[in-house]
């Protein structure tokens, strides 16, 4: 339903906005990763593209970092939905966004 989609989108933007920027606090990072993974897996495939298109360049780079973090610690069905997020994010961010995941010195 549109209401559910709206909620998922809002949760997504909140998770992106409140991502801990420059912290060494591992617990905080892991909590943010967990929250982001929950939000990403809650999306239906058809809703992903709209969510990705609503992000700016920094948002896309941040999303890519979380996607790869999610790949690192797969849960039962997470990889499938993450691959769909990856495809849409790659279409917007290009290979450069993946390069910045590899070169980032401040990881998520």
């Amino acid at each position: 339903t549109r209401r559910r989609t709206g909620e998922a989108l809002r949760a997504f933007h909140t998770a992106i906005r409140s991502s801990p920027g420059n912290t060494r606090n591992q617990a905080m990072k892991e909590q943010a990763q967990g929250t982001m993974l929950k939000v990403l897996t809650s999306f239906k495939s058809s809703e992903i593209e709209q969510a990705v298109n609503s992000l700016d360049r920094n948002g896309i780079d941040l999303l890519m970092k979380y996607i790869y973090k999610g790949f690192e610690k797969p849960t039962e069905n997470s990889s499938a939905i993450l691959l769909q997020w990856h495809e849409k994010a790659l279409a917007v961010g290009g290979l450069g966004s993946i390069v910045r995941v590899l070169t980032a010195r401040k990881t998520v």
């Binding site: 290009g94 966004s97 390069v99 910045r100 070169t103």
Partner: protein, 369 residues
């Protein structure tokens, strides 16, 4: 676009003579080969053999016609043409790691060498002793200096390093020049003075370039970003996270437009919007060949699906002129303010000359400001 395949191996570095009839390049070994244009062909006319390690940088001084080369053997040589032979003069750089880049200053009375010793050697000729001496710029460089570019005032030097930063230093040598007048980068320029330092990006700075006026400096980093610092705007830095693979070389072609190229094997245009302080991507400059669209048999489609999980055959070959990463760009005609021609060399052993007017007419959406 003229493309010439010189080698089957990467061209490590290249430099052109003043009238662009000769190109000096390192064919991925310890030597420098000079080719001369003979109509439509290129003929090898000289082989310079002196280095004991790969030649990592070559620069050809246009007025004095001297070459300077540097290599992984920790040495630099200044070459002078005597008759029809290039004679080398060793320059002691006092470094204990490989030299990585070298540039003549605009007045050709100094040259700078960046190295893995985490410092820059500024070399000048001492008349009394008839040899080249050098001074070091060390602080606060923390890693290998990968690229250098001189400001038109012959004093300021921009350096890109593996410690993720772009810096501008003063390389003022009182023995060879007058005190410089103030610039937008600062007024006091004692040797080694740090005039500007960028905040850290997350990638090694591969290439750095001053604009023709010297009031702007641009650099490309390994985190796929392009940045520009504008001294006219209190050294404000504009940066662009590109969608491409990392860029390895960048040059200004006007005061507002840059061409950069790298691991995507094709040169790209970027524009600096001064009023907003932003950098934008202006398009790829490689005009794609008309690829022959022959039909795929059902068997070929299945094979593609099996091998690559895709029946799309478009990515099987590179459409670009260069078939491997472009590692260097040089301006051939028009200078950095009105460039009409530039040259790229790459890891495919090829050299390509690009004509800006032809690009503008071939790519309709291209806007070079």
């Amino acid at each position: 676009m003229a493309y010439h395949s010189f080698l089957l191996e990467p061209i490590s570095c290249h430099a052109w003579n003043k009238d662009r009839t000769q190109i000096a390049l390192c064919p991925n070994n310890h030597e420098v080969h000079i080719y001369r244009k003979d109509g439509a062909k290129w003929s090898k006319v000289h082989e310079l053999k002196e280095h004991n390690g790969q030649v990592t940088g070559i620069d050809w001084a246009p007025e004095s016609n001297r070459l300077v080369t540097c290599g992984t053997d920790r040495n630099a040589y200044v070459w002078t043409l005597k008759g029809n032979v290039w004679k080398p003069t060793l320059v002691i750089l006092r470094i204990n790691r490989a030299a990585r880049c070298v540039k003549w200053s605009p007045k050709e009375n100094k040259f700078a060498v960046g190295s893995g010793s985490r410092l820059i050697s500024i070399c000048y000729f001492e008349q009394e002793n008839d040899w080249w001496v050098c001074k070091h710029i060390k602080k606060p460089i923390r890693s290998t200096v990968l690229s250098l570019d001189w400001h038109p005032n012959n004093v300021l030097l921009a350096a890109g390093s593996c410690d993720f930063k772009c810096r501008i230093f003063s390389a003022y040598i009182k023995e060879v020049e007058e005190r410089p007048s103030p610039t937008p980068w600062g007024s006091k320029m004692p040797f080694g003075e740090l005039m500007f330092e960028s905040s850290s990006s997350c990638g090694w700075v591969h290439s750095i370039c001053f604009s023709a006026s010297g009031s702007r400096v641009a650099w490309v980093s390994h985190d796929s970003t392009l940045c520009l610092a504008d001294a006219g705007k209190k050294m404000a830095v504009a940066s662009l996270c590109t969608e491409t693979l990392p860029l390895l070389a960048v040059t200004f072609i006007t005061e507002h437009s840059l061409v950069a190229a790298g691991h995507d094997c094709c040169p790209m245009l970027f524009t600096y919007e001064e009023s907003q302080g932003t950098l934008t991507f202006g398009g790829k400059l490689d005009v794609p060949k008309q690829s022959s669209q022959r039909g795929l048999t059902a068997r070929e489609r299945f094979q593609n699906l099996d091998k690559k999980a895709s029946s799309d055959v478009a990515n099987a070959t590179l459409d670009t002129l260069h078939k491997n990463s472009i590692s260097q760009i040089s301006v051939l005609a028009g200078g950095k303010d009105k460039c009409s021609q530039f040259c790229t060399t790459g890891m495919d052993g090829g050299m390509s000359i690009w004509d800006v007017k032809s690009l503008e007419s071939a790519l309709k959406d291209l806007k070079i400001k």
